[in-house]
Structures are given as structure tokens and as C-alpha cells.
Amino acid sequence: MLSDTDFDLLCKQCDLEKFNFSQPEEKSVDAELPVLTESELTSLLKKRSAQDSVALNFLAAGRFNNFIPSIIRARKLQSDNCSLKVYESNKATVEDKLKSLTKMPCCAVFNDDLASLLTNLLLDIKRSSVQAGIEVVSKILISATVSPSIRNVLRTQLKYHCIDLVVLDYDKNSGKLSLSQLQQFDTDEILAVVTGWPNYFGLLEDITEISHWAEKKGSQLIALSDPLSLSLIKSPFMISGGKLDYILGDLQAAGFTASQSGASPSFLASTKELSNNLKSAVTTQINFEDLAIIQLSMSVTGLSGLQHSAELSNSTLHKLVEKLTEIDGVEKKFISESLNECVIKIAGLDIEKGLKMLAGHNIVFGYILQNEYPGLTNCLLISCSDLHSNEDLEKLVSKVATMVKNLSTAGCPVKPKFNS
């Protein structure tokens, strides 16, 4: 390290003698937040992390809590650089595996998070239409079943582009985007349609119908997905009969923790080569560290490992839902056969109060949907991962049963399912 004496010497030689930092400035903030030694900081952060630990968590909302192999955790502790050749090779391996998952001919990975990549793609589609001399259409349809947090970021990022972001309502019975919502729009006025695969409620949209509609209207169809789901369910590109234009996905499931979701690298698969503009000017190249983690994760776990993890999560979820629905007042709202997230409804009680009661036992049961989806009163988005054991399920079910019993008998009786 450059010593203070050497620093002064270098300053003199570079005519920068006014640099003088030997005395710290008086800053009250630094006084409040003293510099810590490594052991002090370790104690502090261990304490804070323990404070945030949740014994049982069934809330995901699109953020996966699945098992991460120890080799990937260990790799994150290293920060060594790699040669360009290794970088290119890792990138090609990852992109090949993603092509295999999406079944689409072109694929690229980016440093940008999913919401930013989607913004860039939409702007690129608009720019291409302008260049092609097509009359400028600036309406983008996005299903309400796409994660609200992604929609919020899109709203911020598209604000100054004269793009009209229209949120399409979902069908209250099926939890999916209904075709009637699309049909209210005239020909040629739609730039793109964005939907989830699976959607926010863990359901599969009627992608065949949507893609027919989009093709007829000349709009681009974009599906948001992820490697974990794609390892278990068919690619929307195949289901749409090759009519889907793009699949975008968050790569969190490929070696990143839930805390990195929404900010981890993402991928874009398409039917045609990506435009140069999208590849270079607007998006950011994936950095070698993140790429190495994705590559390692996809090699160590493999696509079959991803599939195993997704299957286990799915079967655990179904087991949980079966047990939960045996409790009076708990019913399935939206659930798919093949995914790890679903919506349940607990009728006849104050759901917020119920969740607080469970939080007292260090259990996070799920996410209340009512604030973002007013039609879904008393509904919870719940999820299971490959880390949940049978004991975890038993514990949750027992606590939920007690919670329902306590709250519903306190003035909000629920109709019993069985006469005993």
C-alpha cells in the first residue's frame, strides 16, 4: 500500500500538493458510526442476520428459496479474474443451455436485471418499427398477472418514451389473462404483449390463444419466465407453435440467493438474432463473476438437477395445500398442477391479524394479495421449495389450524366443511 510519506512525495512530483488528508474532517456521522474491526463487524452482522432469520418461510412471490450447492457458495468467496477465452466459453455454455430450455434459436445473457432488460427490449422493438417505416404505435399491453414490482419499474423506465403501458385485467375465476381483454384493442395499434410463464399466481396462461391474437394483430409477444419453471414445464415457444417472439427470464435460480432476485442477471431468448443496439449500446454485458456462477450452477446442478428441484418443490406444495385445505375456511383459489407457487383463500377471518399471529411463532405463511389485487380478499400467495421438509409442513399446518380456530371463533365464524 502506498504509505502516507510516499503519498506526499508523489503529490509533490505530480504538482498536487494541496492534497492533504492526514487529519480526518469533523463529521458527526462518522462519530455515530465508528470504524469497526473485522471481528466487531462480524459480530454485528451475525447479530443482525440472526434477528432477520425466519424459521419457516413460505413466501416467495417469484423469488426462489431453493437449495444452492456448496461449491457455488464457495465460488462466490473467490473473486479471481478470468481470460477472455474462458469468459466467451462460459457464455456460450450458458447460452446453449438456455436455448435448450427455451427451445428458441437465439439467446443472450445480460448483466441487467429482468425489468431493465424488458424495458430495453420494448424500446428496441419500438425503435425497429420506426426504422422499418411502420406507423408508430406505442401501446404495450401487459397482463395484471405479471409481477406488480416489474410493472412498477417499467412504469418508471418508460415514462419519457411516449409509450402507453396498458395493464390488462385478469379473469377472476381462472386467475389468467382473458382473451376478451385483448380483443377490445383494434388492429395494428399494439406494439407488444407481455405475459408471464408462469404468471404471478403460479398459473400457465393460454399462450396458444394469446399468440394467435398477437400474430393476427402484428404485435410482438413476450413471455417472462425463469430456468427453474422452464425445466419442468414446456417452453411457451413450443406451446405457441413457434409464434412467441421472446422469452425473458431472471437467472436467480441459477446460483443466486432469493435476496438477489430482481437484481440478478437475466437472459433473453428470441426467434431472430438480437439487434446490435440491444446487444451493445443499451444493455450491459454480463460480468465474469456472475457468469462463472451461472455456468457453474448449470453444470453442477445441470438441467436435470433444476428439474428435480422444481419437481420436489411442486410436490411439496401440493402436499401442503392438501393438508391446509382440510382446515375449515381454507380453500384453493388458483393452483397449477406443475408449479411451486399458488394462491389460497382463508375465509372468514382477518388475514393480516392471522399472519401476525403466525409471525409470533417465527413463521411467514405467505403474501397478502389484497393490496395489489383488490378482488383477492383474504387470499395468500404461498410457495414451497426443495428445502421444506415434512416436519415444516406439519408445523405450519398445525399453527394455521390453531390460528383459524382462534380467529374465526372470535366473531367471524366460518362454515364447517364437514358435519362432525
Partner: protein, 389 residues
């Protein structure tokens, strides 16, 4: 107990008797920088943190929110500004966020202002401006006064000239304030440095501070900082402390905010790596390190220029990085690379940009963290480069 204590005291060695050179302190600082990177990786992946989900009840995320709130406070302390919002994005996206704030500020005042006066060489600002419906006019700082008119939304500056006594003349600054033009300092990709070395009358409304670069984690974490005038426009969510509880201030609670730029609060692991560096070194330590980085680069460039290689090496502003263009055959390139290995072991950052076409031999090396080397090592490395240039 007392007896044991006094016995221990008689054996205790006094630190002033160590009698070793002053470089012990420097060695310690050097190791601290590297140790910070290891502990950052370890501590940011603690179980309670890596399960974080912004949808979790706030009662179960108080520990993490406290860390983020402290980072906001420390960023304010480093910059002299008084409100911060942390984001983990690419540089262009972070700049886009700042430009959106500028747009929204003037739109709220019902003004039609779409000119950005750019007093720096920042191509990323030019790109982001296209996405914000703003027009960039590139000028030198001397031309500032003559370009001030009612269409100007903001003035964007890089880090000002270190040797200048003042940022702009008093009269120009007065005019800027009277016209309510925003002064935005773009610190992306650059080392920030002590306020002490800033020209006297500098006053910013908005700053995009590259914390990842600043904390040497290279993680794409930015602190978007503002003064009171702009703070309501900062992106959400921001961590706030109310009645001894930390909470995320959402878009609904801050109607003037430009809205969220990240889904959730960004990449927690990367944010925590910066936090670890900030707490281990303190804001003053970070500033010291930044100034050493700047001076080490300047010294390196000066020495190469003195040896007649002024065209080969350049740096922009006070970036703490320098680019060296070298013309070498592959075999010689390998031996240069081997020569650099021992400095890389000390923490030197070296990144190669190879020629686009086959047969070309000219390539570029970007060097950073030159301050991790002692002066002797730095001089040795300069000799190595002179040999190959």
C-alpha cells in the same frame, strides 16, 4: 483477580516499544482492503440476509434495513449531500434515474426544459439522455455562462479540476441558482474524493456515486444523492427510521418520487459487500484510499510521459484507473503478463482489451488499484512498462 491483573500488566508489552517502521500501518491498511473483500463475501451471504425478500414483513428484516439505512447515512456523509437512495443497476440505468429526477423536477414546476449542458466527456450520459427525452449540449466549463438560458434543465459535471480554486465564478453560480438549474455531478466509474480537495464554491444538487467502485467491490451499487431541493424525487424504496423502526418508503408514500428503478431493494449481497467495506474503513478511510488511487495513477502516467511515452497512457478525470495502449507480439504479451502477476497478487487490477482483428498486435491494458502497491513496487512496475512500450 487483582493480583493476576497486575502480573499480566508487568508482562504486557508497550506498543511504543515495537520499534518498527511506519510502513506497518500501511501494510495493515493494504491487508484491510483485501480482508474487506473476503469478509464482504462471507458476511453478505449470512443466512438471515440471503433469504431477504421485499415482501417479507418489516419486523423480520430490521437487521438488513438498519444496514441499508446506515449506508444511506454514510453516503451522505461522504458527499456532503443530505438524502440518499441506494440502487443496484448498470451505470446507464443509474444515470437514467438521475435524468428522470431532473425531468420530473422541472415538469412539476410546469417548465419545458430539455437541454443538458454536459461539461465532461461522459458517453453514458449522452446515451441515457436519449432515453429521457433530453438534448445534450457538450460544452467546456468556460462556455457555461454563455449557454445558460431558459431551456437548460441541468448542468452535468464530471469531478472538477483538482487544481482549480473554484468550480465556476461566483457570478455564474449565482445565475445558475437564480435560474433554478440543477447541478448534477456524475461520479460513475470514478473515485470520489475528500470534500477538502473540492474547489471551494462547489455545490451540487444531485450526485450519482458509484459505491461499488468506491468500495472496491466493483459491484454496480450506486448511491443516488441529493440536497433538500431534489430529495423528494429520489427513487423508491428508501429506508427510513421512524419511531425506532426501519421501514421501506414506498412509491405510494412519496408521490413526487420517480418510482422504483429496481424490483425490491436491489441486489442485497452486492449492497452488503459495500457496507462491509464502509464499516471497516469508515468514510474517511474510503476517501484516503480514493485520493491515494488518484495520485498513484497520476504519478504512473507522469513517469511514462517523462520517459517519452506520453501517447501510450491516459486517464480521464480522477478515475483512479488508467489505460495503456501497447503494441506487442503475443509472445511478448505473455511475458508482460507474467511480469504483472506479482503486482496482481498485491491487489493490482489489470484488464486486457485484445485487438478486434486477427494479426493486429495493439491492445489496451486498464490498470487500477495502483495505490495497493508501495512506491518501490510502483517504480518497479513503471520500469516494466517502459521496457515493453
Amino acid at each position: 483477580m487483582n493480583k493476576t491483573g497486575s502480573n499480566l500488566n508487568s508482562f504486557k508489552r508497550r506498543t511504543e516499544n515495537w520499534n518498527i517502521s511506519t510502513s506497518d500501518n500501511d501494510d495493515q491498511q493494504s491487508q484491510l482492503s483485501i480482508a474487506g473483500q473476503f469478509s464482504g463475501s462471507y458476511l453478505s451471504s449470512l443466512e438471515g440476509f440471503n433469504r431477504f425478500n421485499p415482501y417479507l414483513p418489516e419486523s423480520t428484516t430490521q437487521g438488513l434495513l438498519e444496514c441499508i439505512q446506515e449506508m444511506q447515512t454514510m453516503s451522505c456523509s461522504m458527499s456532503g449531500l443530505n438524502a440518499a437512495s441506494l440502487v443496484s443497476l448498470s451505470t446507464s440505468q443509474a444515470i437514467f434515474g438521475c435524468l428522470s429526477m431532473i425531468n420530473k423536477y422541472h415538469m412539476r414546476k410546469k417548465r419545458s426544459r430539455n437541454t443538458l449542458l454536459l461539461c465532461a466527456d461522459l458517453p453514458q450520459v449522452v446515451e441515457a439522455a436519449v432515453y429521457s427525452n433530453l438534448q445534450v449540449k457538450k460544452i467546456s466549463q468556460d462556455q457555461l455562462e454563455q449557454n445558460l438560458d431558459s431551456t437548460v434543465a441541468a448542468i452535468i459535471v464530471d469531478i472538477p479540476n483538482l487544481t482549480a480554486d473554484e468550480f465556476v465564478s461566483e457570478s455564474t453560480l449565482k445565475l445558475i441558482h437564480e435560474m433554478d438549474i440543477i447541478i448534477y455531478m456524475e461520479g460513475s466509474g470514478q473515485y470520489f474524493y475528500s470534500l477538502k480537495s473540492m474547489p471551494e464554491n462547489v455545490s451540487f444538487d444531485l450526485l450519482n456515486l458509484d459505491l461499488g467502485h468506491q468500495c472496491e467491490t466493483g459491484s454496480g451499487v450506486y448511491a443516488m444523492l441529493s440536497n433538500d431541493k431534489m430529495k423528494n424525487y429520489l427513487p423508491t424504496p428508501r429506508v427510513q427510521l421512524k419511531e425506532n423502526r426501519f421501514s421501506l418508503q414506498t412509491h405510494q408514500q412519496s408521490p413526487f418520487s420517480i418510482g422504483p428503478l429496481n424490483t425490491g431493494v436491489g441486489n442485497i449481497e452486492k449492497i452488503l459487500r459495500c457496507y462491509v467495506q464502509l464499516r471497516l474503513k469508515g468514510t474517511h478511510g474510503i476517501q484516503q484510499q480514493a485520493m491515494k488511487a488518484i495520485v498513484a495513477v497520476r504519478y504512473f502516467i507522469k513517469k511514462l510521459a517523462d520517459s517519452g511515452n506520453s501517447d501510450a497512457c491516459m486517464t480521464t478525470g480522477t478515475s483512479g484507473l488508467c489505460c495503456i495502449t501497447i503494441n506487442l507480439q503475443v509472445s511478448s504479451k505473455l511475458s508482460l503478463d507474467q511480469g504483472l502477476e506479482r503486482y496482481k497478487f498485491q491487489g493490482l487490477y489489470a484488464d486486457y482489451v485484445m485487438p478486434d482483428k486477427k494479426g493486429e498486435t495493439q491492445f489496451t491494458i486498464t490498470l487500477g488499484r495502483l495505490h495497493y502497491l508501495s512506491k518501490t513496487q510502483l517504480d518497479d512496475m513503471i520500469e516494466l512498462f517502459i521496457k515493453y512500450l
